[in-house]
Amino acid sequence: MSEPAQTALTVTGLSVAYGNVIAVHDATFSVAEGDACAITGPNGNGKSSILMGVTGMVHRRGTVEIFGAPARNGDVRWAARHGLTLVPERRQLYPNLTTTDNILLGCYGWTRNIRRARSSASFGRAIDLFPELKPHLKQAAGTLSGGQQQMVAIARGLAANPKILAVDEPCLGLAEAVAKRVYDALAQIHDEGTTLIVVEEAPRRALTLCNRRVEVRNGMAGPS
């Protein structure tokens, strides 16, 4: 008999507000270890704000537990150290740094030693994930195409050696063929044992990868 999966992420009563505007209200859901969970819903309904609140990029109300440990509010580094890494919407790369340096900085959450980072399994795995990036490793990230930049953002997230990878709108503005390539890479990451959370406007695409879905409507979230 297999043991029941551990809960990777528990979100209870999560609310996120920007000034007087409430983006997320009282969201409650959980993600088991090994799950691929889609957070879906129309644009502007608070999907990305859920990830921002969960990862600590913005302050929140409510509680978030990562593998049972209560997450500190607004502390991205704590979340990263405990295994939750965000691949943000619009990639948020460092445009004048090379592709390699962008990916390498993903290791910053667990080491300050550049040699240790370069020789680590997680950096090697991140570099190998997208062979099509290899000719561009010394190129400034800002000069890459949109699809290549998305690949760099995912590779940077993977270099952090996450147990949970939260990916926000990975296919925003990408051509269909590139979007499929990105989803193939996410499927590979999931197959290798990383828990995935994918924010996606298009539920059909998300459900090709995900076995669970959280639907967000008007800032209210719950299992679909």
Binding site: M57, Q92, Y94, G106, Y108
Partner: protein, 294 residues
Amino acid sequence: MMKLGNLIIAGIITGSIYATFAVCVAVWYRVSNILNLAVGDFAMVGALGVDNLYRVKGLPLPVAIITTLAVVAVFAYLYDLVVLRIAQDRRQMEGIVVTFFFTFALSFFIDGVAKMLFGTDVHAAPGLWNGNSLTLGSLHFERAGILVLACAVIIGGAFWVYIRYTLGGKALEASGENVVGARIVGIDTRRYRLWIFIGTAVIAAIFGIVESPITGFTYLSGATISLTGFIAAAYGGFRKPGRALLAGLFIGVLEALLGGYVSAEYGDTVLYAILATLILAWPRGLGFESAVSG
């Protein structure tokens, strides 16, 4: 030829000071989006502080130097803790003009305190390497100038190695490139801002100590250094320390040549006229447009 060679040497030495201050302005701007107009005032505090502790208070020179640098570091730490944290982090003030005034005010504050403590006369820290100038053929090298150049090369080289070969240096670059992206990978951008502010203040103070035997300092000398460093940094779009460094050297050599061949009295006036003309004629190429538009 001899005159030209000596002028170029003098220009490179002066230029290395401008270059260092320009790099200090550019590096801190990258991590904080604030232009540090007080960087030259820290140099003045270094020079006059060491002079005061050594000549007036009678402390041994190494103790005077260490005490002055420690005071500068602690002051920079407190300023970041009290003023910059409130200005940038709590109230989320943005924009080049708003944040500009926080260091402008700091510059006035330091000048006022320095006037009370050190008076209005010209002073200088004692020379660290005394003796006649060194000669190579017909070229003359002032010992203090060689020290200035050596400091610039060592500090510039250390910074280059840090940026190029350490993860901390790349994190520093990332903080300047994209604050949100830096936070995502766990970089504490506030801590970088603090350490760079303290680091550049101490570097400025060291340069003040080393350079003051050449020119002498008053409580107002910091403003001139800040201005030239600011202009050199502007030529690098404020965000490119490498270009700021070259611009600083260029301004130093141009200033020396103008002083030697055009007019010792009006050299600075002609210099700033040339710099202004270059900015007006070629703003995009010099990165000045991006500096102003952000």
